[in-house]
C-alpha cells in the first residue's frame, strides 16, 4: 500500500508536532501514537478514535503525533534502534509489517481472539500470511484499488455497461475518443512532486487478470517468473492504452490528473478508496466505481485489502494499555467513527454510508468477486522498488515490458533465499 507514498503521500500540518515520550505521572498512563496520515481522512478518524477511547478509559491518555510521510518508516526504524519511540504506531500491512516485525508485538494472546476474528483479511497482517500464527497489525480500515468513471461522459459516448475485459475496454475507449473525450488519465496527483504515477493500482489488476489468487504465491517464490509470457502480454496490453492515445500523453509528468478527472476532462481513472470522498463531494452522483478490466476473460477479482492499521512496539513500556486501544478498534463504536470519516471499516458486517464505497463492497458481497491483496503489499520490497521505477515507463512506451520485468526479476534474484520462500505461507 505504498499509495500513500514511501515517496511521501502525506504532509505534516496543523496540530500536534511535539513528540513526547510516555510520561507516567500520577495514576494516568500516557501513550504515544505515531501516525503518518497528514491531513487525510485517516488522520480525522484517528483523532476521533482517540477521543472516544479516552472517554471510555479515563485513566489512559494518548498523544497523537503526526510524522511526515517521507521517512516515516525510517523514523520508526531509528526509534527501534535507539529503543526510544512510540507505544503505538501506524503500520502498513503485508510485507511491511513482516519487514518490520522485529520491533512489533504479535497480537496473538494480547488482544482477545474473538475480537481479532471480527476483522476481515487478517491473514495479511499475520506472520507468513497465516492467521493461526497471530497478527502484527490491527487494521483501521479496508481499502480498494478501484476504477472510477464519469457516468455522464459514458452516457455521451453511448456506453451502456462498464467494460469487463480488454476488448470491451478498448472498444469503450475508442467510442469515448470519437466523441472527443479523453478516455483515461494518469498522473502523480497525490504523490510527491518528483515522482511518477503509482503503478501498483494498475499492476495489481494486471496480475489479477493474469493469475488466480492461489497462483500469486508463484510470483513471490519464483514458480512463476516475473518475465513469464502472460505477464509480458498483460503489460503490452496496458501500454497499448497509451499508444493508441487513450490516455494523456504526459503520463510520467502530469500532476493534475485528479483535478482533470473531477472537471470531466477524462472519463476513467484508476485510484483508491482514500479519494472516494473527494470525488463524491466534487462530482456528486456523477461518479461511480468499476473494476479495471485488465483481463482477456471477464475480470473476476477486485483489490480489497486492509492496508494500514496500528501496531504496538516491542520497546513500549505501556503495552497492556496499548493493547486496549487496539481492542477498541474492533468495536462497532469504532466502526461508526471510521465510517463517519469517510473510510470503510474493516469490521465484518458493517456497512458504509458513502454510496460509491458501498458499490465496491458490493463487488465482493453481491457480485462475488474474489478479494485480492494490494500487490505492493504482497511482493518483496526490492521487487516493489524496481517496479516503482520501471512500470510507469512501460505505460509511457519508453521501456519495453520485457525489460521492466527483467529488472524486477533481477531484484528478485538478488534476494537472500529466506526472503524468496513462500513455504510457510498459509493456503
Amino acid at each position: 500500500m505504498r499509495s500513500f507514498g514511501a515517496v511521501a503521500a502525506t504532509l505534516v500540518l496543523a496540530g500536534t508536532f511535539y513528540a513526547s515520550g510516555p510520561a507516567s505521572a500520577s495514576a494516568k498512563t500516557t501513550l504515544t501514537l505515531w501516525q503518518n496520515y497528514g491531513t487525510e481522512q485517516n488522520a480525522v478518524a484517528t483523532k476521533n478514535l482517540i477521543k472516544a477511547f479516552e472517554a471510555d478509559n479515563p485513566s489512559i491518555k494518548i498523544v497523537d503525533v503526526a510524522q511526515p510521510g517521507t521517512n516515516y518508516f525510517q523514523l520508526l526504524q531509528s526509534a527501534a534502534i535507539s529503543g526510544n519511540g512510540p507505544d503505538l504506531a501506524v503500520m502498513w500491512t503485508g510485507i511491511y509489517d513482516l519487514q518490520y516485525s522485529s520491533y512489533l508485538v504479535n497480537l496473538k494472546g494480547n488482544v482477545p481472539a474473538s475480537d481479532l476474528a471480527k476483522m476481515e483479511g487478517m491473514q495479511w497482517e499475520a506472520p507468513n500470511f497465516d492467521v493461526s500464527q497471530g497478527a502484527y497489525v490491527m487494521p483501521l480500515e479496508t481499502q480498494f484499488y478501484i476504477g472510477f468513471y464519469n457516468k455522464k461522459l459514458f452516457k455521451e459516448a453511448g456506453i451502456k455497461t462498464v467494460p469487463t475485459d480488454w476488448t470491451q475496454l478498448l472498444a469503450d475507449c475508442k467510442a469515448l475518443k470519437a466523441k472527443g473525450i479523453q478516455p483515461m488519465v494518469y498522473g502523480n496527483g497525490g504523490q510527491a512532486i518528483s515522482t511518477e504515477f503509482y503503478p501498483w493500482y494498475d499492476m495489481s489488476y494486471l496480475m489479477i487478470g493474469a493469475h488466480s489468487l492461489a497462483s500469486w504465491k508463484g510470483l513471490y517464490d519464483g514458480a512463476i517468473p516475473w518475465t513469464s509470457s502472460t505477464n509480458i502480454a498483460q503489460l503490452k496490453n496496458w501500454a497499448t492504452l497509451e499508444k493508441l492515445g487513450y490516455t494523456n500523453s504526459d503520463v510520467l509528468t502530469n500532476t493534475a490528473n485528479i483535478q482533470q478527472f473531477e472537471k470531466g476532462k477524462a472519463a476513467m481513472m484508476v485510484d483508491g478508496t482514500w479519494d472516494t470522498a473527494q470525488y463524491t463531494s466534487t462530482m456528486g452522483s456523477n461518479v461511480a466505481a468499476f473494476v479495471p478490466p485488465y483481463s482477456v476473460k471477464p475480470i473476476t477479482g477486485v483489490v480489497e485489502y486492509p492496508g494500514d492499521g496500528f501496531s504496538v512496539t516491542k520497546y513500549s513500556k505501556n503495552k497492556k494499555d496499548a493493547f486496549k486501544f487496539l481492542d477498541f478498534l474492533s468495536t462497532t463504536q469504532a466502526g461508526n467513527i471510521i465510517n463517519a470519516a469517510g473510510l470503510i471499516p474493516d469490521i465484518s458486517g458493517l456497512k458504509t454510508t458513502n454510496p460509491v464505497n458501498q458499490e465496491m463492497l458490493n463487488f465482493v458481497t453481491k457480485d462475488h468477486m474474489t478479494p485480492y491483496p494490494m500487490m505492493d503489499n504482497y511482493v518483496q520490497v526490492n521487487v516493489g522498488n524496481a517496479a516503482d521505477s520501471e512500470l510507469p515507463s512501460v505505460l509511457a512506451n519508453q521501456t519495453a515490458p520485457l525489460k521492466a520485468l527483467q529488472n524486477m526479476a533481477q531484484a528478485w534474484h538478488l534476494l537472500p533465499a529466506a526472503q524468496r520462500s513462500s513455504k510457510d505461507f498459509a493456503g
Binding site: 502525506t10 513528540a19 510521510g69 521517512n71 531509528s78
Partner: protein, 270 residues
C-alpha cells in the same frame, strides 16, 4: 579608436544583462508563483497574497528558520574553532607526521556523505543524538572540518614565519601567538569558511532529513522538501517558503563578500 571600444562596451554590457536575466530567473519564478493562490496557480493567471498569509499555517516557517540558524551557527562555530588552530598547526607548527596527517584530513574532503551514511546514522542513533540538534551539528562539523583545515592551512602558509617567531621570542607561547597574532589576520579566511560552509549547511537536505528526528526541530530545507513531497502540495506556498529560506544565505554572502577575495587568494599564489 574610441568608437569600436564603446560599441564593444555596449555588447559586453548586453551580454552581462542577458546572463543576469538567466541567473535571476529562479527568483523571478519563485516570486511570481508565490503571489498566486493555489487555484489561480492551477488554472493560470491571477494575483493574490493568499499563499503568503497561509504560509505559517502550512509550515512553521519561523520555527524551521530558527532551527536552521541554530544548526548552522553551531556547526560553523565548531568548524572554525577546530579548523583554525589545526590550520595553524599544519602550516607553522611542524610536528612528526604532520604532512601525512594533513593529507589524510584533506582527503577526507573527498568522502561523500552517502559513503558513510549508514554507519553514521546507526552510530548517531545508538548514541541517542538524533533527538535534538547535536547529532546533526556534529555530522556537519565533521564534514566541514577537512575543507576548513585545508583553507586555513593554505591561508596561513601565506603568513610570514617571522611574525610568529617574533611573538614566540617575545615570550607569547604558541597559544598566545594563535590568539593575539594569528587570529586578527585570519579574518578573511574565517569569512570565507563561514560563507561557504553556511551556504553548504543551510542548503543541505540529507543530514537534516535523517539526523534531526523531532519534527519541531526540523530545518527549513527539510520542511520545504517534506512540503514538496506531500499529497496536497500548494506550489505557491512552497515558493513562498523557498524565498524565506533563501534570504539568510543571501544576506550572509552579501555581508561577507568583501573578505572573500583575500580569503581565497592568500597562500594560493605562492
Amino acid at each position: 579608436m574610441k568608437k569600436p571600444r564603446r560599441t564593444g562596451r555596449w555588447i559586453l554590457f548586453g551580454a552581462m544583462v542577458v546572463v543576469a536575466i538567466v541567473m535571476l530567473y529562479p527568483f523571478w519564478v519563485m516570486i511570481i508563483t508565490s503571489l498566486k493562490s493555489e487555484s489561480q496557480f492551477l488554472s493560470g493567471g491571477g494575483f493574490s497574497w493568499l499563499s503568503w498569509s497561509n504560509l505559517t499555517s502550512v509550515i512553521p516557517v519561523g520555527q524551521e528558520v530558527l532551527s536552521s540558524t541554530i544548526v548552522c551557527s553551531s556547526s560553523i562555530l565548531i568548524i572554525l574553532c577546530v579548523g583554525l588552530p589545526a590550520g595553524f598547526a599544519f602550516s607553522k607548527l611542524r610536528f612528526r607526521m604532520s604532512t601525512v596527517v594533513f593529507l589524510v584530513i584533506v582527503s577526507a574532503m573527498m568522502v561523500p556523505l552517502q559513503a558513510i551514511l549508514m554507519p553514521e546514522f546507526v552510530n548517531v542513533t545508538r548514541l541517542h543524538l538524533t533527538g535534538g540538534y547535536l547529532g546533526a551539528i556534529l555530522v556537519y562539523a565533521s564534514l566541514g572540518t577537512p575543507f576548513s583545515v585545508f583553507l586555513f592551512t593554505t591561508y596561513f602558509r601565506g603568513v610570514p614565519d617571522e611574525l610568529i617567531e617574533a611573538g614566540i621570542v617575545d615570550g607569547l607561547g604558541y597559544f598566545g601567538a594563535l590568539w593575539r597574532l594569528v587570529l586578527p589576520i585570519a579574518v578573511p579566511a574565517i569569512a570565507t569558511v563561514t560563507v561557504l560552509q553556511f551556504i553548504q549547511i543551510w542548503d543541505d537536505l540529507l543530514v537534516g532529513l535523517l539526523f534531526i528526528q523531532n519534527t519541531s526541530e526540523r530545518p527549513i530545507t527539510v520542511g520545504l522538501a517534506v512540503l514538496a513531497a506531500g499529497r496536497t502540495t500548494s506550489i505557491p506556498e512552497l515558493m513562498a517558503g523557498s524565498i524565506i529560506s533563501a534570504l539568510p544565505a543571501m544576506l550572509v554572502y552579501l555581508g561577507f563578500q568583501r573578505y572573500l577575495v583575500k580569503g581565497l587568494t592568500m597562500g594560493i599564489d605562492r
